[in-house]
């Protein structure tokens, strides 16, 4: 069996095609969003919102409305509660985040335990990539496309908000609205990624790609390309690995992402722990004939 067969064989199963489409969509949207989350310092917020949407999703299931509506509602509820606890007591933000999201997550678990359902709602927790139906795939594609379009359309405003919210305010933009929009998109994106890796691991897809890309480039525009490229590749590799190794697909995808982050952390040309030394010594050896090379040319593959 050659490599091509290894790639093509699983695609003979409809469930694998759906799984691949779901994983790629979730990976791409999460990765684009993660670029802003890691730069604003909202990784914990991403963790919180992605967990806190659980009761919303369960209630949406019970009421027969789109998951996205329940997720948005509970995403904002979580952010509102976190802000309220932080601002009106002596509790610091990280503690407020921990209290609110774990309580809401627990509410979700309890709701699941009392909700009779045909599909196992427990799948929301760990993801059920191999069980994604056609209808679910359509919902994922539509939500993913919406979130991605909004993120890319307002990307310059979000970047300004992340870099200098004070200046954004001073020139008449509304930083609160921009932040709220970003959090809404975070809740929406969580729904997309639920199916792929489950509530618990969504946060990995919302943080690791952006963090990995940040180590590889000094340009936000390039981050927006590198993060989804890496994330999509990791998802595909993780999914195939889970197929052949017969392991949990969601877990496998996140493991591959973590492994790639570790490699970049060590070997990235400008930022990597070992990479900057290797790069510097190569440059020293080449310096006499090649002249000076700019340190900022440290993009991928350069």
């Amino acid at each position: 069996m050659n490599l091509l067969d290894l790639v093509i064989e699983p695609l003979g199963y409809g469930f694998m095609v759906n799984a691949l489409a779901t994983a790629v969509t979730a990976a791409a949207v999460c990765a684009v969003l993660s670029c802003w989350l890691v730069l604003i310092g909202w990784s914990l917020m991403g963790d919180a919102v992605s967990h806190a949407v659980l009761p919303g999703v369960v209630l949406a299931y019970v009421l027969g409305v789109p998951f996205a509506i329940g997720a948005l509602l509970f995403g904002f509820l979580a952010v509102g509660l976190i802000g309220a606890v932080r601002d009106t007591s002596r509790i610091k933000e990280d503690a407020a985040i921990g209290i609110v999201f774990s309580t809401l997550f627990a509410l979700g678990l309890v709701l699941i335990s009392v909700t009779p359902s045909e599909t196992d709602l427990g799948h929301i927790i760990f993801g059920n990539l191999l069980g994604v139906s056609k209808a679910e795939l359509v919902q994922i594609l539509v939500l993913g496309a919406l979130a991605l379009a909004a993120l890319l359309l307002w990307r310059r405003d979000f970047t300004l908000f992340a870099f200098d919210a004070t200046h954004a305010h001073a020139i008449g933009l509304n930083p609160r609205l921009l932040g709220a929009t970003l959090l809404g998109l975070l809740a929406l994106t969580s729904v997309v990624a639920l199916q792929a890796v489950g509530v618990i691991l969504v946060v990995a897809m919302l943080i690791i790609p952006g963090a990995t890309a940040h180590l590889l480039t000094d340009r936000f525009g390039r981050m927006l390309l590198i993060a989804p490229a890496i994330s999509v590749a990791c998802s595909v590799i993780g999914l195939y690995a889970s197929y052949y190794l017969d392991t949990a697909s969601g877990g496998m995808i996140v493991l591959v992402q973590g492994a790639v982050f570790a490699l970049v952390y060590l070997f990235a040309p400008a930022q990597g722990l070992l990479g900057r030394r290797i790069f510097a010594s190569v440059r020293r050896r080449r310096a006499p004939e090649a002249g000076t090379s700019a340190p900022e040319g440290a993009g991928p593959g350069s």
Binding site: W154, D157, D164, T166, H169, I171, G172, H214, F220
Partner: protein, 247 residues
């Protein structure tokens, strides 16, 4: 004089129990640079935030160019140069990107730069002598170059009110001279400029007037007069005669 560019009256701001501003009033006029002097905690940064509308004062009003601060913000009239501690220097933006952010108020909602925006950015970079560093990541500049990049943002913006919070902290002499020259040029072109600074020796060369702030405006006038030791003592809680007076 003409209508003030910034007219702040009776500003009172409280952070919990702490009184940050206590009925502070300040008028800034076009074509003039005002140096803002006061010790840490005297309310300088709070005053900037209130003028920009980031903080709602408990009492008092702010008018900018005769209108509301919201209107002034919408017309991109307010430029702000933040303190170094408030900037994430590892953020993946280039010097050019940062200066371009000054133009966002003039662009459509996707902030796609037009030819005029690119020209304004190139010209501002030229004026702060950073054209050769336009594509560096912002954190790769020296302390003085970083400040110049943010001054360039205010210039590219065409702000008629420029607020600078400690632009000379951690800045080399050459950058300090360049920034001083640039601010004088902007003032000549009609901008009203408020600069907070600890560099009292350089103040007379920079500013047309100076303000002593200690939660309220203690004194507002000619820099040489305001900076007399007996006046500084008021703002810094020291007594020049050696008595230790705590209030």
């Amino acid at each position: 004089m003409s209508t003030p560019a910034v007219d702040a009256t009776g500003l009172t701001v409280r952070y919990g129990e702490v009184l940050a501003l206590d009925g502070a009033s300040l008028q800034l006029y076009p074509s003039r640079i005002c140096g803002l002097v006061g010790m840490n905690g005297s309310g300088k940064s709070t005053l900037f935030k209130v003028i920009m509308g980031l903080l709602k004062p408990e009492a008092g009003t702010v008018r900018i160019n005769g209108g509301t601060p919201a209107r002034a913000r919408k017309s991109a009239a307010i430029g702000y140069v933040p303190q170094s501690e408030d900037v994430d220097w590892s953020f993946p933006v280039s010097v050019h990107d940062v200066v371009m952010m000054g133009r966002y108020g003039h662009m459509g909602f996707t902030r796609r730069p037009a030819k005029a925006d690119k020209l304004a950015v190139a010209e501002a970079l030229e004026r702060v002598e950073l054209a050769g560093h336009a594509h560096r990541q912002i954190g790769q500049l020296s302390g003085g170059q970083k400040k110049r990049a943010f001054v360039a943002r205010g210039i590219a913006q065409g702000a008629s009110v420029l607020l600078l919070d400690e632009p000379f902290a951690g800045v080399d002499k050459r950058s300090e001279a360049t920034i001083t020259r640039l601010l004088r040029e902007q003032a000549t072109a009609g901008a009203a400029i408020l600069v907070s600074t600890h560099d009292l020796h350089a103040l007379p060369a920079l500013a047309d007037e100076a303000v002593l702030l200690m939660r309220k405006v203690l004194m507002h006038g000619d820099p040489h007069t305001v900076l007399r030791p007996e006046n500084l003592a008021l703002a810094f809680g020291l007594d020049v005669l050696g008595r230790n007076e705590e209030s």
